[in-house]
Symmetry: C2
Subunit: 348 residues, 2 copies
């Protein structure tokens, strides 16, 4: 493949962007003009424009030792799309800013973009612009996602009311255990580089860590079934942290029942291997990109039959505090022990 | 000041964002909801939404040895606003992603935000969201700017036609010479840390480098005087590079006259000190954040009286190529020798 024999220096900044984006086709009528000018031009008529941004840093959010570039690109995009879905809106465009050092090859960047484009294709999103640059040290990936939301149908973190049901999609904790697996194999590899990674049979947690999928299907389900959550957030930092965000912003308390929190069977088994309580992984693990939302009790029957929506508790008055009912029936305060970008993560 | 005695670790990610943004007030009706949810919610009714993003890396785009944090924040914002103005649109919101290492203090981040907020105030832009994270090494700042543009009035790089006038705002090369000054003082300081920087009398080039101002005034002038450029771009990488972008995208050639390129008197003097031809600084220097635009010849009289708009040449047919007429009347090819994020800058 002659194309990939090229060096990044030969292409230069503009050449690199052209090279990486020459096969990008506009998919949404909302994308009036994409890559190739000072800015993208979007057109949302009389709908709300939803915008979210995120930065991922090498060594902090990803480790190139065990993260394939294509997966990294995919995950960087879907993490942002998940924020748009969590507003009950539909993502339409992303803009990508990328910085990387001389040790990164063109082939690696192409693989990263292959993941970015695959995520865009899978979620019908246009890659509408961006910036690439060099870095003296690690790689940085910043993504801004833009979406379209119906006026009056945007769901904020702040709308939960006392007695609302607290619902969770899918299952939790798997992405965190996938990370533990990768960390274990990295450690073994560092000690003995000849060792082959022993990842067979761990497909589910690895896929949840390396190639998560945001819940576009749930947002479509809401639309088709006229479900209107009162508050919603995506689970990137761990269930506890996200529920506390909703309670803080809504000025409410909550009661969550530990035995109702959905944990996959493989996650439970793997947690045992790592001597981690599955509940802890589910509450604090993060990166599952599921949704947690609150619903008026009157809307219960609209979601009751859905195999991927579980009711895990309810909203209380603020003065009742935020609490967790554990298996033996005792009540403990709900605490955020998820990811803290500025301190040691408590799970590690 | 108790507030600034706090440590970043104590605040945590969400505490830090709250701390830095608690005094942010929404200024534009287009900002339906700002910081504090998964995403910002914007509302542009029946106008185009313009979106642009940029990433700045420590050691590549800025050097913390001689860049005050407040200036860095200011410049990071205006560089993005400049991209929105260059589309003939008005910036309305920014989203900021920030990553920095443990060596950076809360006071420094507050100063960075002071610059960010000052730029937002000066250009009536809302800080509508963002993300902060830690970095293992250098600092990374990624900004996305969103703007509003009238349908049919967006100006792309691709609209230039043969015989159109090529116009430039303000003057060029000063920001580049400001950078040379700072680099010289840094070198002297590294050799002898007791030395005081000798920057007196260099206010203009330093200000152009450290606190550039994008041309909001020119976009307003266009609106008030019904001026409609055929193509436009902001000068971030150097005049040559930008004019070549217009010619590439418009599939035209151009002829630029060296003696018409506006260079400030102080820039000329300082160029002499550094043994740099002022024309080279103006053509290749970059970071002036002026605008270069093309105009139908019939629109000439609308801009002729403007003290800050100079006609420097005209668009030709593609087969005539892109050329520069220098002082002795000879014609040389116009070449982009501006900033290349992946190679050595030719000026250094």
């Amino acid at each position: 493949m002659k194309k990939t024999d090229k060096k990044i220096e030969e292409l230069g900044e503009f050449g690199l962007i052209r090279h990486l984006t020459k096969d990008v086709r506009i998919k949404n009528p909302e994308t009036h003009r994409g890559i190739g000018d000072d800015a993208a031009v979007l057109d949302f008529g009389d709908r709300h424009v939803i915008a979210s941004t995120d930065i991922l840093m090498e060594g902090i959010h990803f480790n190139l030792i065990y993260t394939p570039m294509k997966h990294l690109g995919y995950k960087a995009v879907v993490a942002n799309l998940s924020d748009i879905f969590a507003m009950n809106a539909i993502p339409k465009q992303i803009l990508i800013s990328l910085a990387f050092s001389a040790k990164i090859s063109l082939k690696q960047i192409e693989n990263l973009y292959a993941g970015i484009k695959l995520a865009c294709d899978n979620y019908n999103v246009d890659l509408a612009g961006g910036d690439t640059s060099t870095s003296l040290t690690g790689m940085a990936i910043s993504i801004t996602a833009l979406g379209s939301g119906e006026k009056g149908k945007i769901v904020y973190r702040s709308g939960a009311k006392t007695n609302d049901l607290i619902c969770v999609t899918g299952n939790l904790g798997a992405a965190y255990l996938g990370l533990q697996l990768l960390e274990r194999e990295k450690k073994l590899f560092m000690e003995n580089p000849k060792l082959q990674p022993a990842l067979d049979g761990y497909d589910y947690p690895l896929q949840r860590q390396l190639k998560p999928e945001p819940r576009a299907d749930i947002i479509n389900f809401f639309k088709e079934n006229h479900v209107m959550p009162t508050a919603m957030i995506d689970i990137s930092d761990g269930l506890s942290s996200e529920v506390l965000h909703i309670c803080n912003e809504s000025e409410t308390g909550c009661r969550i029942y530990a035995d109702r929190i959905p944990v996959d069977r493989y996650t439970e088994e793997l947690a045992g291997e790592f001597n981690i309580t599955p509940l802890v992984a589910a509450l604090n693990g993060g990166e599952d990109y599921e949704l947690v939302f609150t619903l008026s009790p009157g809307e219960l029957e609209k979601v009751q039959g859905h195999k991927d929506i579980k009711i895990i508790g309810h909203i209380t008055a603020k003065e009742d505090g935020c609490s967790l009912v554990i298996h033996d029936g005792s009540i403990i305060p709900l605490q955020a022990q998820g990811w803290n970008a500025y301190g040691r993560s408590p799970q590690k």
